[in-house]
């Protein structure tokens, strides 16, 4: 291997580091429960919630932090959260049932996204807050509430298509929400149906990393809320959705070196860094780089709670540049947020057993096959490039040379690549070793997992620290009493 290895080391918090320093536990669990195996850490979720809460504190804001359930199906995570003051945002009938069953009372649940009649009925029946997508859904809800004589339903109106004066901020078109310039009809409908729906406020969720676009949307929401008050409605909250992001990598310099090298590889001035010369969205057009890098910005110093803080401090263009947080506070509005990925930062990892390590005859990167399918490790699907950590079986071998590898899944399918990237590892993995993919809890654990070719989906365990040692149980067996002063299975020795 000529060039120095281009590592993309994961950022590991205290608990993830500690778990990875317990190879015996990880191997025992994978031996017993099979590969791949997902591990979640409910207490980390509670700790992350506190981080978001402290941003609320700084800006003196009140309101609900709602976990976007779709990011992970774990029961343990949901139940642990039920033991805090957080809420949950559900996007399907199953998620709503799960949330209610985990102990969330309806005042702590919002129902978002495309809804079928069953979902809408259960939401209205249990008095959870419904995030209404548009006039049609509002009509549907009103009919349902009247027909089944359900309680008056609390609603948030999801808006989209926010506009600015001066600079036109182009936003990606969204499938969801009511364009803000059509909000008048929606407000009229709310007033028409005031016997069956109660307006809590307005909502948006933009799929973008740009703070400016979100600030524009929040600014627009404040103006619509003002219109609500002008109509005699009494809105009390703004729901600004999620998308606060995660900082995945430990070292920004590695990310910069890697992306520069990838650019060079696409331009052909260095050997390829990917299987088949894949460019992750970049392409070479007669020596000039074209396209855009289709990767998650994995090194993001301003992510999660810090991103929220930056957004709240952002000046509102149509309110004389006063910070958005000050406006929310002054207008007496509650702030609802719906982080998924950001709330799950550092909350879990995915383990996969190494089945085969093969050196290609013509040299080059080693071909490593794992007991897992590409869809079991969703990092690549989300454009997150991050190295797995090698967890050797048995006694650690003396440190060897770094190696370049390609990681293959276990499906009988050419495209079953865990990642298309050539991965650099500090040591050669051997059959029987585990590769630990860190920080997969947000969207990269069970969102895309299938049972293709009748291969198993990953089992899931919840793990927590008690008196300095790791304890665990099956995800479905976990309840807050388990970790917060109850019984668990002491793995002795492991720490």
């Amino acid at each position: 291997m000529g060039a120095p290895p281009l590592y993309l080391a994961p950022r590991l918090g205290e608990w993830l580091r500690s778990l990875l320093a317990a190879p015996e536990l990880l191997h025992t669990l994978t031996d017993a429960l099979g590969s791949p195996l997902n591990m979640v850490m409910p207490d980390q979720l509670a700790a992350n919630l506190e981080q978001f809460r402290s941003v609320y504190g700084t800006h003196r804001l009140s309101g609900q932090v709602l976990f976007a359930h779709k990011a992970n199906r774990s029961s343990a995570l949901l139940r642990r959260l039920a033991a805090t003051d957080a809420g949950v945002d559900v996007a399907s009938l199953g998620e709503l049932q799960h949330a209610l069953g985990a102990g969330f009372t309806p005042d702590r649940i919002t129902a978002t996204g495309p809804k079928n009649p069953d979902f809408l009925w259960l939401a209205a029946r249990t008095s959870v807050t419904v995030v209404v997508d548009g006039p049609a859904e509002l009509e549907q809800l009103a009919v349902l509430v009247r027909k089944f004589t359900l309680p008056r339903t609390r609603v948030l109106l999801r808006l989209a298509g926010f506009e600015t004066s001066g600079v036109r901020v182009l936003s990606r078109r969204s499938r969801f929400g009511t364009p803000v310039n059509e909000s008048e009809q929606l407000l009229e409908a709310v007033q028409r149906h005031s016997d069956v729906v109660e307006l809590v406020g307005v909502a948006y969720h933009l799929d973008t990393t740009s703070v400016t676009e979100k600030a524009t949307a929040l600014d627009g929401c404040l103006r619509v809320l003002e219109e609500c008050r002008g109509r005699g409605l009494r809105p009390s909250a703004v729901d600004i959705g999620g998308g606060f992001g995660v900082d995945y990598l430990a070292d920004g310099a590695q990310w910069e070196r890697y992306t520069t090298a990838l650019t060079a590889a696409v331009l052909g001035t260095r050997p390829p860094l990917t299987w088949g010369g894949h460019g992750y969205g970049l392409r070479n057009e007669s020596g000039t780089l074209r396209g855009s890098l289709g990767l998650y910005p994995a090194h993001r110093p301003v992510a999660g709670p810090r991103y929220l803080d930056e957004l709240l401090a952002h000046p509102a263009a149509s309110f004389d540049g006063r910070p958005l947080a000050a406006l929310l506070l002054e207008h007496l509005y509650d702030l609802y947020i719906e982080p998924g990925r950001a709330l799950l930062d550092q909350c879990g990892l995915t383990l996969a057993r190494v089945l085969e390590v093969r050196a290609p005859r013509n040299g080059g990167a080693l071909l490593v096959r794992l007991a897992a399918k590409a869809d079991d490790v969703g990092l690549e699907e989300h454009g997150v490039l991050m190295d797995p950590v090698v967890v050797p079986r048995g006694r650690a071998r003396p440190a060897a040379e770094p190696v370049a590898v390609h990681l293959f899944g276990s499906l009988c399918l050419e495209t079953d690549l865990i990642t298309r990237r050539t991965v650099f590892l500090p040591r050669r993995p051997e059959p029987g070793d585990l590769l630990a993919f860190a920080n997969t809890a947000g969207y990269c654990m069970d969102f895309h997992a299938t049972r293709a070719q009748q291969q198993p989906a990953a089992a899931k365990v919840a793990a927590w620290q008690q008196a300095g040692s790791w304890r665990w149980c099956l995800d479905d067996q976990y309840w807050p009493v388990t970790s917060m002063g109850g019984v668990g299975y002491d793995m002795g020795g492991a720490q």
Binding site: S62, V167, T208, R229, G242, E256, L289, G291, S292, L329
Partner: protein, 439 residues
């Protein structure tokens, strides 16, 4: 000098020698090519005029709109040129990062479109990046755009082949300098000038400066971004070196404060990169050498950029009666009054109720009979002294009772005998069920 059109004033900029006492390089004659003296303020005037000029008359006949991907000087120059021909100009950018330039563009009547940020829930199969979509709209049948395409248009480079480069050679008495240092933006000026200089003397060494990768210097690309520029050819440069924003500002300050050259950060980066490179090269040669760098534009547009990075440069004198001067003990000792007592007090008609929230929040809901003076304005008022008579009791209200406590303490210190802060603020007032009205 008399001209028929301002466009004739483009080019023929001075080449000014930097005092060796400032740069400290004994064997070097260092010259600054003052592109900031172009009529619209930057080196981009040349490229903009050369790219758009020949097509403007026809575009005016068709009522086309001039379009360019630019968030800076090219946009500025094109906005001016388009306006001269009665055309509109649209600037499409990733992000307007320099607020002064953005305001100037709006003042010039430009339309600005910012492209959307990266998707948070990434779809790796979506290969249509915003730029591809931009180009698609330009080439839609029936669209009437004059797209100058500065990153790919050879007429960008030509402007410097015909203008900037030969001017430098002429001013150096027909000789090319030993060194040429330029920042890489569209690569137009560095490529064009380098080609002219090399034709005169193949030994000229060309240094390209790029921004440090995680940094931002207006008008300079990072090395990865440079690869996306059609005019960029790494072979143009003998070396490509990175400059960060601190260094750019350092260089800028030297030019501003010591040389009488009111350059912006891009020119500062060029100066800094030039001196750094020449210092390193000095050891290798004792012969007298000449070097030229380009001063791209002026400092005035970058005040907020500099303030963000170097607040120390804008130290302001302390002002009297500032809430920042209060001690924690003073704030804690500020007289406060709970909601119930405040209602009774207001009922007597005695206190003037001052609501410190923004006018928008005040307009939405407020305590009946209150006066709105937003905190920023209130602070300004207090610098000049007490804005109320001492005989008039005052109740201050803010969202949670924090700001009001601070101002109550300040009014106290200024000698007001009866000022109180509404404990818990308007939120506590609302939560206690006390009435809030809209007028």
């Amino acid at each position: 000098m008399r001209y028929d059109s301002i466009t004739e004033a483009i080019g023929n900029t001075p080449l000014v020698r930097i005092d060796p006492a400032v740069h400290g390089l004994a064997h070097i004659d260092l010259y600054a090519k003052l592109e900031l003296l172009n009529p619209f303020g930057s080196v981009k005037d040349r490229a903009a005029w050369n790219m758009a000029g020949p097509r403007l008359a026809e575009a005016a006949a068709h009522g086309s709109q001039v379009v360019e991907l630019s968030s800076g000087n090219t946009a500025k120059a094109l906005a001016v040129l388009a306006g001269m021909y009665g055309l509109t100009f649209k600037s499409v950018t990733n992000r307007m990062r320099v607020p002064e330039i953005k305001d100037l563009l709006l003042l010039l009547g430009a339309e600005i479109e910012e492209l959307p940020g990266q998707s948070e829930c990434l779809d790796p199969t979506a290969t249509d990046d915003p730029l591809t979509l931009f180009h698609r709209t330009l080439s839609e049948p029936g669209s009437a755009y004059l797209h100058t395409d500065q990153y790919f248009n050879p007429r960008n480079t030509e402007a410097h082949l015909a203008g900037t480069g030969p001017e430098i050679v002429k001013d150096l008495d027909g000789r090319a300098p030993d060194w040429f240092i330029a920042c890489v933006g569209t690569a137009g000026s560095s490529t064009g000038v380098a080609r002219v200089l090399r034709e005169h003397d193949p030994a000229v060494r060309v240094v390209g400066l790029v921004a440090a990768k995680s940094d931002f210097i207006p008008g300079i690309r990072t090395i990865d971004e440079a690869h996306q520029v059609g005019l960029f050819d790494p072979g143009t440069y003998d070396s490509i070196e990175a400059v960060d924003s601190d260094e750019a500002i350092e260089g800028m300050l030297t030019l501003n404060r010591r040389c009488g050259i009111l350059a912006g950060p891009t020119g500062g980066a060029a100066y800094f990169g030039a001196v750094r490179r020449l210092k390193a090269a000095r050891a290798a040669s004792s012969a007298r050498q000449s070097a030229v760098f380009i001063v791209c534009d002026r400092v005035e547009s970058y005040m907020s950029y500099v303030r963000r990075r170097r607040p120390d440069l804008f130290g302001r004198p302390r002002r009297a009666n500032s809430p920042a001067d209060l001690t924690d003990a003073e704030v804690q000792a500020a007289p406060a009054i709970g909601v119930e007592d405040a209602r009774t007090w207001i009922g007597t008609g005695a206190p003037l109720v001052v609501d410190l929230r923004s006018p928008y929040a005040f307009a939405a809901l407020h305590i009946d009979g209150s006066v709105n003076i937003v905190d920023e304005l209130f602070e300004e008022l207090l610098h000049g002294g007490l804005p109320f008579s001492r005989t008039r009791p005052v109740l201050l209200a803010c969202p949670v009772g924090e700001k009001s406590a601070r101002y109550a303490a300040l009014l106290n210190r200024m000698g007001h005998p009866d000022v109180r802060s509404l404990a818990g603020g308007i939120i506590a007032w609302r939560d206690a069920g006390a009435p809030l009205v809209r007028d």
